[in-house]
């Protein structure tokens, strides 16, 4: 499974998102992690910084993170057609699966085989997430900017230990950046 580089195509876009959407459960951040793996590391269609920007945008917009991220990736790869294809690919698997399950819920929920497979897949999800966190975190450290490192650690503590809502964190950091910019401008104004 070496990294394979392919020219952006709508077909590959559709099937990539379809696969990711069909196999990843456990919330929005899981699916964007898999998207980062696919579109940044494997296909090289999007660079890492842009993908992180997409995740921030997807997280701060109304609606499901997975759908929002698909919309952004879709526009990037194939314009309007790309966006529509990406959204379709993102919602077909959950729709199909929920439709099937809602007719046989009891059998599904109490099935031991399902429970065993799901338990193992959680371990796989954990592994993929760890891999991406190591790569992303490493890249932030490599920039050797203490502000960015402090931001990362502080937001982690806020999110993990204090359960601070992701949108509030994002808004706070935006406000801090704005305030910093304003302060710079005022200083400049005084000097001149």
């Amino acid at each position: 499974m070496e990294t394979k580089e392919r020219k952006p195509s709508l077909v590959t876009l559709f099937f990539s998102i379809l696969y990711i959407s069909a196999f990843t459960f456990g919330g929005g951040f899981v699916i964007v992690t898999f998207m980062k793996k696919k579109f940044v590391d494997q296909l090289h269609w999007i660079d890492e910084e842009e993908m992180l920007d997409y995740i921030a945008l997807a997280q701060s917009s109304p609606g499901a993170i997975a759908v929002n991220a698909s919309i952004l990736v879709g526009w990037k790869i194939g314009g309007l057609a790309g966006m529509l294809i990406a959204v379709l690919a993102a919602i077909i698997p959950p729709m199909a699966i929920i439709t099937a399950i809602s007719f046989a819920y009891q059998a599904f929920a109490s099935n031991r085989i399902v429970a065993m497979a799901l338990r193992g897949m959680q371990a796989g999800v954990g592994a993929v997430m760890l891999d991406v966190v190591f790569t992303l975190g490493g890249n932030v450290l490599k920039q050797k900017s203490w502000i960015l490192i402090v931001l990362m650690i502080a937001s982690f503590l806020a999110a993990y230990l204090y359960d601070v809502n992701a949108s509030i964190l994002i808004l706070t950091v935006l406000a801090l950046v704005l305030a910093g910019n304003l302060a710079k401008r005022i200083q400049k104004g005084r000097k001149s």
Binding site: M1, I20, A22, F23, F25, G28, F29, F34, K38, D53, I55, A56, S61, P62, G63, A64, A66, N68, I71, L72, W75, V87, P93, P94, M95, I98, S102, Y105, F108, A109, R112, M116, A117, R119, G120, M121, Q122, A123, G124, V125, G126, A127, V128, M129, D131, V132, V133, M152, I153, S155, F156, Y160, S167, L169, I170, V173, L176, V177, L178, N181
Partner: protein
């Protein structure tokens, strides 16, 4: 009826900022309290299903409620309603991003947000890793071994993540199913 269903889920899609669990109270107030389309216990089932299956909770809920209210057409109408606001708002953002992301102020904001996103992913990761490592009160050896092995294969051997995940599911079936290691 279909139109009301559509409107309710447009509302859910429009006001659930932050994804995932942010949508639950909205779904509850509009679908259960206002319209009584599903019961509270069906709603609890729905959340369980949503956790066990792929896909965003809002989309899962839209499909589930849609089927209950008006069968397959209901599922389509509700799901469409739930993603429609995103399609508009996020597309506008995509346009704005393309146009303005090189402005210095926007650059500053985006570079400040990137470490936050990494931290948010890290926080979600730790919660999942905890769930894998500890099952109930005891450590889950099978889970730990599978996770470490999968991590090494993905990180050092570039194994495809989806294959790693399905492989873990299969290995877990073998360990718990064939060798009879109890699940919890």
């Amino acid at each position: 009826m279909l139109f009301q269903l559509f409107l309710s889920f447009v509302q859910v899609g429009l006001f659930s900022v932050g994804g995932g669990y942010a949508a639950i109270p909205l779904i509850k107030s509009s679908i259960i309290d206002t319209h009584g389309w599903i019961t509270l216990s069906e709603f609890t089932d729905l959340i369980t299903i949503a956790e066990m299956t792929p896909g965003p909770i809002a989309v899962n809920a839209a499909t589930f409620v849609g089927i209950k209210v008006a069968d397959i057409p209901g599922a389509f109408v509700a799901t469409f309603g739930c993603i429609l606001p995103s399609c508009f708002i996020v597309s506008l953002l995509a346009y704005a991003y393309r146009k303005y992301h090189s402005l210095p102020l926007i650059q500053d904001m985006l570079s400040g947000l990137r470490p936050v996103v990494v931290a948010l992913i890290a926080s979600a990761t730790i919660s999942i890793v905890q769930m894998v490592v500890v099952n109930g009160k005891a450590a889950d050896l099978t889970g730990i071994v599978l996770m470490v092995a999968a991590f090494c294969l993905i990180h050092f051997r570039k194994l495809n993540p989806i294959i790693a995940m399905v492989g873990c599911g299969a290995a877990s079936l073998v360990v718990h199913g064939l060798f009879g290691v109890p699940l919890s």
